[in-house]
């Protein structure tokens, strides 16, 4: 049943989403693609929209996936499921188990999870960048337009960091990439 699948899928994401929104994105991709809820392409678009609209990125993604699969009820169920674990865990910690996080065994588990998340995020980032520039489906070829945009974006990020001495905000990067997309793919 779709409601149960949405609930369990996003509950899994909510339980294991360590390391903020970017730590959760590989998990959400995993769940969404394995159920076939969205195509990889639509999901990537939604990540950009979640980044450019207010609110936590995981909550935004859950709402969208739920709504696209099962309307309003689906959106509510997926959103509740992704929020529920952190809500309950914080309640437990503040109300009862103030020292739970200092427990040695809990620490050992967390110290295993965190580097693993970093490895997963790194692999997902590299894969997504390469997948845009290279086409690997039937034969190996390079997508020239995507590669041009990728190179321009990296140049913009690093020159901004060098000259303005701060990081380019994600929303600015998305706006720049949208302009580049309209120009490069429009020609």
């Amino acid at each position: 049943m779709i409601y149960l699948d949405l609930f369990l899928g996003f509950l899994k994401v909510g339980c294991l989403a360590f390391g903020g929104a970017y730590g959760a994105i590989p998990l959400i991709r995993d769940v969404v693609l394995s159920y076939g809820w969205l195509s990889d392409e639509t999901l990537t678009y939604m990540i950009a929209i979640s980044e450019s609209t207010p609110g936590p990125i995981m909550v935004n993604l859950a709402t969208y996936v739920g709504s696209s699969q099962a309307g309003f009820a689906g959106a509510v169920i997926a959103t509740v499921a992704v929020v529920l674990p952190s809500f309950l865990i914080i309640l437990l910690i503040t109300a009862l188990l103030k020292a739970a996080l200092q427990n040695k065994y809990v620490q050992a588990i967390l110290h295993g999870l965190k580097p693993c998340v970093i490895g997963i995020v790194l692999a997902t980032g590299i894969y997504m960048v390469l997948r845009n520039c290279l086409s690997m489906k039937t034969s190996f070829s390079i997508d020239v337009r995507a590669t041009i945009i990728t190179v321009v974006l990296f140049t913009v990020i690093y020159s901004y960091k060098k000259f303005a001495n701060k990081n380019l905000s994600p929303i600015m990067l998305i706006v720049i990439s949208a302009c580049l997309g309209t120009v490069v793919y429009g020609i």
Binding site: A17, V59, V82, I90, I126, L173
Partner: protein, 191 residues
């Protein structure tokens, strides 16, 4: 004003006006809850940020639940969590109704082909930031490297193995290493 209404309105405002996810929200929560409303102290805010980093889920939700509970118990935590989620829920729900029609416009479709590339770069950047902040020790690095390699294989060869199982394995491996080290130390201490 009734504390529950005040909690709800404050967190709905934070939810509506913070772009860019969790970390941007923390500074807004600090601004409203510590400086303006004095619902929690600065130290408590620091503590909950640390806890939020060690617990799963959106960081903003963790903070909202904590502040709500401190002010008005369980009902308070429900109200704040609902308040922070509601604005983005409404916005995304409306977008989801129109998004497909919107994408049929050629100019929008092209813009999104560009945006798709930015998303990959954002994720890669996030990973680089995480690596810079990571403990520079052998075991964390080894776990990171192994999970990186396995995840690359999963992605490129469409392996039927989920990142969720990978995380559970990493947690189990680190717990085992910890238990082994401890039993070795105890044996060393007994001699």
């Amino acid at each position: 004003m009734n504390i529950l209404i005040d909690l709800f309105l404050t967190f709905a405002k934070i939810g509506l006006f913070t772009f860019g996810g969790g970390y941007a929200m923390i500074s807004m929560i600090e601004n409203y809850c510590v400086e303006q409303k004095k619902w929690i102290t600065h130290d408590e805010m620091m503590n909950i940020t640390v806890i939020a980093e060690s617990t799963p889920g959106p960081i903003a939700i963790n903070c909202a639940t904590f502040v709500g509970y401190k002010q008005a118990g369980f009902i308070g935590s429900l109200v704040t969590t609902f308040g922070i989620v509601l604005p983005s829920f409404v916005v995304i729900y409306f977008i989801s109704m129109f998004f497909d029609t919107f994408l049929e416009l050629a100019i929008i479709a092209n813009a999104f082909k560009g945006i798709k590339i930015a998303v990959g770069i954002l994720i890669l950047n996030a990973a680089v930031t995480m690596i810079k902040k990571m403990q520079k020790k052998f075991f964390p690095r080894a776990i990171m490297l192994c999970s990186f390699i396995v995840m690359m294989l999963i992605n490129f060869f469409s392996w039927n193995f989920s990142s969720i199982s990978l995380m559970l394995i990493a947690a189990a491996v680190n717990l085992t290493i910890f238990l082994l080290q401890r039993s070795l130390e105890q044996r060393g201490g007994a001699k």
